[in-house]
């Protein structure tokens, strides 16, 4: 899957939960949850949204690999390509 498509899905899902987010203002290698106010319910809903849009299941044990947007991009790309 195209990297830009994954990026778009991430931002669309994020905006559905935190409409105040400006994707352009997010620093890709800073922890996401330092930049966006997401509580544990928001975070879970974010992952559910990614799961529904990309059909990727994200085990709870992998949460720690998803600190930054860059981590998230890499993780999702790897999961999607390993499936293809």
């Amino acid at each position: 899957m195209d990297e830009q498509v994954i990026r778009d899905v991430i931002f669309k899902t994020l905006r559905a939960i935190a409409p105040e987010v400006d994707p352009a203002a997010l620093v890709p290698d800073e922890p996401l949850r330092n930049q966006v106010d997401l509580d544990s319910m928001d975070w879970l809903n974010f992952l559910v949204g990614l799961h529904q849009a990309l059909k990727v299941d994200i085990p709870e044990g992998d949460y720690q690999k998803l600190y930054t947007l860059n981590h998230l991009m890499t993780y999702l790309r790897d999961r999607l390509s390993s499936r293809a």
Binding site: A18, E20, S40, M41, L47, V48, H51, P59, E60
Partner: protein, 390 residues
């Protein structure tokens, strides 16, 4: 005949604006059905009817602001005929809804001119045309042109100010509502505060095991275990669950847990999860997710607003380590959970690294004492050591 009245939707609400009816005359209403949507300073709330019946008449029109307790609809009871209903209505004329207690927001901030001044005021023809187009009453506009004449610019300003006043400032209203409830709480409720540290090794382990097996859509949050454990513990401590009203405490047989939910645009609301002690964690998780979603969209049901018998506030994993909450009147207790942190913990004679949460209790000293409050927190701690039994 049943008189369906606007219910109170919390201690801080004394009126509401009817937004939309979900039923029409002749419709059958089942107990628990949402029949009308009412706007309060906090949210648009779906109001349920708690009786079975048939809608006879809708008394209040959408757009009307009415005090709590106003009859807004008449329902025929099961078995009641239209003839009997007509008879009843003839004997019980319904008064027109009382006017709202609050006057509409003033549109113009400048003082209005005296009548004589108004009589000989000058208005430019362009300004007059402009005022007609925009529906502005010229008598309310202060003129700043030559000899106090009303100019186009004056009309424009009045129109802009009217438009601003027409859109209620939800954030400011919510701030006022929270201020009223919290000020009343601190004025009336003699709070006492207790806290204890609760090790969560067992709960964390159990949750990780459960969530490993579950798809992302069915995972549980620690918050659900907290809420469930609080409800189970409250069953043994009825003096912390219920309402203090009219100078006495009324314990509640049901445990409806208000969950403090912060809103992105500022402010917070604490709608209830109902009958928490009787529901398994899976069901509570689904209901909590739904409640948070609807609270953020400001679309809640009246029972969720009027019924909480206790409140839980959970600062989650982004906040600080402890919270001492302000009780939401007429409730008598609030249980707070801080952030879960890893700490050095002594157990069985050795030091281990264990996830720990600080649980606090704010309670009303008119209804309970610190000794029992302490026992409650210890019961909560014990319940969270056996998560599989929650």
């Amino acid at each position: 005949m049943l008189e369906f009245r606007l219910p109170s939707l919390g201690a801080d609400m004394d009126e509401g604006t009817l937004l939309e009816w979900h039923v029409r005359p002749g419709d059958v209403v089942k107990r628990g059905q949402v029949v009308v949507v009412v706007d309060t300073s906090k949210a648009a709330i779906e109001v349920e009817c708690w009786e079975d019946g048939v809608v006879d008449r809708l008394v209040v029109d959408p757009g009307t602001t009415i005090p709590v307790g106003t009859v807004i609809a008449l329902l025929r009871q099961p078995g009641e005929t239209e003839e009997q209903a007509a008879h009843w209505k003839a004997e019980h004329p319904i008064a027109a809804p009382a006017p709202p207690s609050r006057a509409p927001t003033a549109v113009v901030s400048e003082p209005s001119p005296l009548p004589e001044e108004r009589a000989r005021r000058r208005v430019s023809p362009a300004a007059r045309r402009h005022a007609e187009e925009k529906g502005i009453d010229l008598e309310t506009v202060v003129g700043t042109g030559p000899q106090g004449a009303v100019t186009v610019e004056n009309v424009e300003r009045a129109a802009a100010s009217a438009a601003r006043a027409a859109v209620p400032d939800r954030a400011a209203e919510m701030r006022r509502t929270i201020a009223a409830a919290m000020a009343r709480s601190k004025r009336e409720i003699p709070h006492y505060y207790l806290a204890t540290e609760i090790p969560l090794a067992a709960a964390t382990r159990w949750l990780a095991g459960e969530n490993e097996r579950r798809p992302v859509t069915e995972r549980l949050l620690m918050a659900v275990l907290f809420i469930k454990a609080v409800a189970n513990a409250l069953v043994k401590f009825p003096e912390l669950n219920g309402f203090y009203r009219d100078g006495r405490f009324e314990p509640s047989p049901a445990v409806h847990v208000g969950v403090a939910i912060s809103l992105r645009q500022g402010g917070l609301i604490a709608p209830a999860l109902l009958d928490v002690n009787t529901k398994p964690p899976d069901q509570l998780m689904r209901e909590l997710a739904d409640l948070v979603k609807r609270a953020r969209a400001l679309s809640l049901k009246s029972s969720e607003f009027s019924l909480p018998t206790v409140t839980v506030t959970n600062l989650g994993d982004q906040g600080v380590e402890s919270v001492y909450g302000v009780i939401y009147p007429p409730q008598v207790a609030l249980i707070g959970f801080g952030r879960i942190t890893e700490r050095a913990w002594v157990a069985d004679g050795s030091i281990q690294i264990v996830p720990v949460v600080t649980a606090s209790l704010s309670a009303d000293h008119r209804a309970s004492d610190g000794h029992r409050g302490g026992l409650f927190l210890n019961e909560l701690k014990a319940l969270l050591q056996q998560p599989e039994r929650l």
